[in-house]
């Protein structure tokens, strides 16, 4: 059996969401599906998949590990942890899908079989980062989630008050939390707590926004909210910063979506810097690597919680892993996006009462609905399809701070805009 082609399909389901699907075709008619959606970077990843094709075409799709090793180690000079692991993830997911289909079993059977019969989810409500949702509307959605069976909710309650119109400029890329912003964030979380009750599980995502002292003060201010975790309190590049936060707060901590492959997790786990980890199956190196990271965390008695991989194929891949992972907390999702999924996949996963149930089908258990995909294709460079802050030339936040004779910089930052749509 040989791989004959690799195709990318970038679709826009609704709003400014963009999903990057990948299909791996074979000479025996079996096609595997994968995904490596990342809102800030679809223009990079779509091109990258074209470049990486020669690694994949002509190879035996059954040799998943050999493919993984060759692609990962080949790109040592680019640092494979990041851009390359995104590309690798989509290929790896598609190869596991092919293997499952060829053998006629779900992927979770190939990973050692299920240790649970369904996967618990957590979902989201609006926060304060680049959103302006009234508190009553947030509370109403939280109550609705609870009524629908979801047992846990995550949000980012910290306002981006230093960022006029959401424009980020150089000195504000590492944000400072003011006492006022912290007070507003606590109010927001208290309103959420009031809406769902004392026993409900609440999580905060700080989106790797803050400097070290801001993160410490932000985490400590949430003491009475009784969080499950406070996620990505600071930027990812410094484990020393994370350690400083760790030593100065009692709030449980979590990291993961910006940690790629086992190698990024070794120091975090060895130094016991967090209480939960949340790798993204579509970013960290695919099903192969997600499963290995989960196993790495297991002897540390640390729970794993797949980051919401955004699109339906990635969620299906994370689900396959979650069924087999003993040390699972919950799988992330944005349940309000589920309504758009049936246009793109067939069948829609079996979601009930805040859980996903296995459907028994081989591979990932879903197929791409190519009619839906083809009718929603977009160009990765089409700025009008990008979220506002990903559009070129937005904002003039540097006015008054410029070099002599010049008007301020006006580059739009690509920063992680997908969260603006998150509800």
């Amino acid at each position: 059996m040989k791989i004959t082609d690799v195709k990318t399909h970038l679709v826009q389901p609704q709003g400014f969401n963009r999903w990057l699907f990948v299909t791996v075709e074979t000479d025996e008619g079996v096609t595997g599906i994968g995904e490596c959606t990342n809102q800030t970077s679809v223009a990079h990843l779509t091109r990258g998949m074209e470049v990486i094709k020669p690694f994949v075409i002509g190879r035996d799709p059954a040799k998943i590990e050999a493919m993984w090793q060759r692609i990962y180690h080949f790109y040592g000079e680019l640092n494979p942890r990041g851009y390359i692991t995104h590309l690798l993830s989509a290929i790896d997911i598609a190869l596991w899908d092919i293997k499952g289909k060829v053998l006629g079993v779900p992927v979770y059977e190939l990973l050692g079989g299920p240790v649970r019969d369904r996967v618990p989810l957590y979902t989201h409500v609006a926060g304060r980062w680049f959103t302006n949702v009234p508190v009553e509307e947030m509370q109403s959605l939280a109550r609705k989630h609870k009524a629908n069976g979801f047992e846990a909710i995550k949000t980012d309650p910290f306002p981006a008050e230093n960022m006029p119109d959401g424009e980020l400029n150089g000195p504000l890329m590492v944000e400072r939390l003011t006492p006022r912003a912290i007070a507003e964030a606590v109010e927001w979380m208290q309103a959420l707590r009031d809406a769902v009750g004392l026993d409900y599980e609440l999580l905060i995502d700080a989106h790797a926004r803050f400097d070290t002292i801001s993160a410490i003060e932000g985490a400590n201010a949430m003491k009475d909210i009784d969080l499950i975790w406070f996620e990505e309190p600071t930027h990812l590049e410094s484990n020393a910063a994370l350690k400083q936060i760790r030593e100065n707060t009692d709030t449980p901590l979590c990291i993961g979506e910006h940690h790629f492959t086992r190698w990024d997790y070794v120091p975090v786990l060895e130094e016991r810097l967090v209480d939960y980890i949340m790798p993204d199956v579509a970013w960290c190196g695919g099903i192969s690597e997600f499963r290995r990271i989960a196993s790495l965390a297991e002897p540390h008695y640390i729970r794993v919680s797949p980051h919401d991989a955004i699109g339906p194929v990635a969620i299906a891949a994370a689900f396959q892993c979650s069924l087999t992972t003993p040390n699972l907390y919950r799988q992330e999702c944005v349940s309000t996006w589920f309504e758009t999924f049936p246009t793109f996949i067939e069948p829609m996963f079996d979601v009930r009462d805040g859980y996903i149930y296995p459907n028994g089908r081989p591979g990932l258990g879903i197929e791409l609905n190519m009619d839906g995909v083809m009718s929603h294709l977009i160009d990765p460079d089409d700025a009008s399809k990008a979220p506002p802050r990903l559009r070129p030339g937005v904002g003039e936040a540097m006015d008054g701070l410029t070099s002599p004779g010049g008007r301020g910089a006006s580059i739009a930052s690509p920063r992680r805009v997908r969260r603006t749509d998150r509800r």
């Binding site: 990765p380 910089a409 690509p414």
Partner: protein
């Protein structure tokens, strides 16, 4: 002043040795030159510059730091350290070149001014990494010629590929070194030592190829050669692996080309895992970041030695920084590439007596693209001669020594 376009040129003077040069254009006619060539990764970077172009066009090119911060932190989803820092590097180098040209001074004047009047270099000789059947006398003769040409230090990789055929299998990506091969490599280096004398400066690059036990064996075997350093003994992902090597050899160690931005260096310095650092200006985040890493190293009394292995722009960008860095060891270069450089840049830089001598009146990088000659060497991004995965097995000199062959199936 506004950036109006970012143009990419893939320049191939010799087959298998393409460079990816970037030119930032402005509404005032001044342009800046950058580079982020990286072997088989270059096609990714060509696409990447296209993908980030929209964020840069329209900006004031003088706001170098603001652009650096936005791109680095803005792309943290992809990890700023690696692919993204390569793209930032090309832009950053071009913006410093622009600023120097606008102000009419070499970049080193903008970085605090020179602390030396020339930049000492080390160079390369052919190695058995690219040609396993090479006779050691080929290397010895090349080394003698380099010394006669004024070069005072030479680096090479004496370890043959430990996989057979044209490409490794999935299980061979991290190489194991047999005791026999370690001894062979030591004999190779000892032949160079004997030919060049006891005080000539010799360096070994292990290209991050080996597992820990192999790396320790290699280091110990090479201890009698009295190297300046042994570079990248193990893959870079594991600080623990580096520490294990460090604790088991007396050979001086170096890393850097696979370490991107200050953040990748903090732990190396804190744990004192190496004796030299060698970031690549075109990969680690440009002139801005190279200068900052050098300053960080200075605080630990560690010497700094920029990596260089591809086109002329990254070499000259490194040289501009080297002029200002007190804790410089030497600048890497591959002198065999110089005649190729002279075909596409103007003026050609001045290298004599083992040092590069930047012209004090040449603004920016001190070089420009020769747009008259360039069209002869520019190739399309889809040209099949561009490095593709496993067409060529290795880095420096590989392309010259071994023509592209199709990889074997795993």
């Amino acid at each position: 002043m506004r950036i109006t376009d970012v143009k990419t040129y893939i320049v191939m003077v010799k087959p298998g040795r393409e460079w990816m040069l970037v030119e930032v254009e402005t509404d005032e006619g001044v342009t800046g030159l950058g580079e982020c060539s990286d072997y088989a990764s270059t096609p990714h970077l060509v696409g990447g510059i296209e993908a980030i172009k929209h964020f840069i066009v329209g900006s004031d090119p003088r706001n170098i730091e603001d652009i650096w911060q936005k791109l680095f932190h803005g792309y943290s989803d992809l990890n700023g350290r690696g692919y993204v820092s390569h793209l930032i590097s090309a832009i950053d180098i071009a913006l410093w070149d622009l600023k120097g040209k606008v102000l009419g001074v070499p970049i080193y004047q903008l970085l605090g001014g020179p602390v030396r009047d020339k930049v000492p270099v080390y160079t390369h000789i052919p190695s058995p990494l690219s040609d396993p059947d090479m006779d050691v006398m080929v290397a010895v003769e090349a080394a003698k010629r380099a010394r006669a040409g004024g070069f005072e230090a030479i680096k090479t990789d004496p370890f043959r590929r430990q996989w057979r055929g044209n490409a490794p299998t999935g299980g061979e990506m991290v190489e194991r070194l047999s005791p026999g091969e370690a001894r062979r490599a030591a004999d190779w280096m000892m032949a160079l030592r004997e030919a060049l004398g006891p005080t000539y400066e010799l360096l070994v690059d292990a290209h991050a190829r080996f597992d820990v036990a192999s790396a320790i064996r290699a280091c110990r075997a090479l201890e009698p050669v009295k190297l300046i350093w042994l570079e990248e003994p193990v893959p870079v992902e594991s600080v623990q692996a580096m520490r294990q090597v460090r604790e088991n050899t007396n050979i001086p160690l170096s890393v850097g080309e696979r370490h991107f931005t200050r953040w990748d260096y903090i732990e190396l310095f804190r744990e004192r895992l190496v004796d030299y650092v060698m970031p690549d200006v075109a990969w680690t985040g440009g002139i801005s970041e190279l200068r900052r890493i050098a300053s960080m190293a200075e605080a630990y009394f560690i010497r700094f030695s920029p990596h260089d292995a591809l086109g002329p722009v990254m070499l000259m960008a490194g040289v501009q920084v080297d002029m200002t860095v007190p804790n410089l060891y030497r600048q890497e270069c591959v002198h065999e590439f110089f005649p190729d450089y002279a075909k596409v840049i103007t003026p050609m830089f001045d290298c004599h007596d083992g040092a590069i001598h930047p012209h004090p009146d040449a603004p920016g990088l001190g070089i420009s693209l020769n747009h008259d000659a360039l069209p002869r060497y520019v190739i399309s991004p889809s040209d099949r001669r561009i490095h593709r995965p496993f067409q060529v097995p290795s880095q420096t000199f590989s392309a010259a020594a071994s023509p592209a062959r199709s990889g074997r199936a795993i």
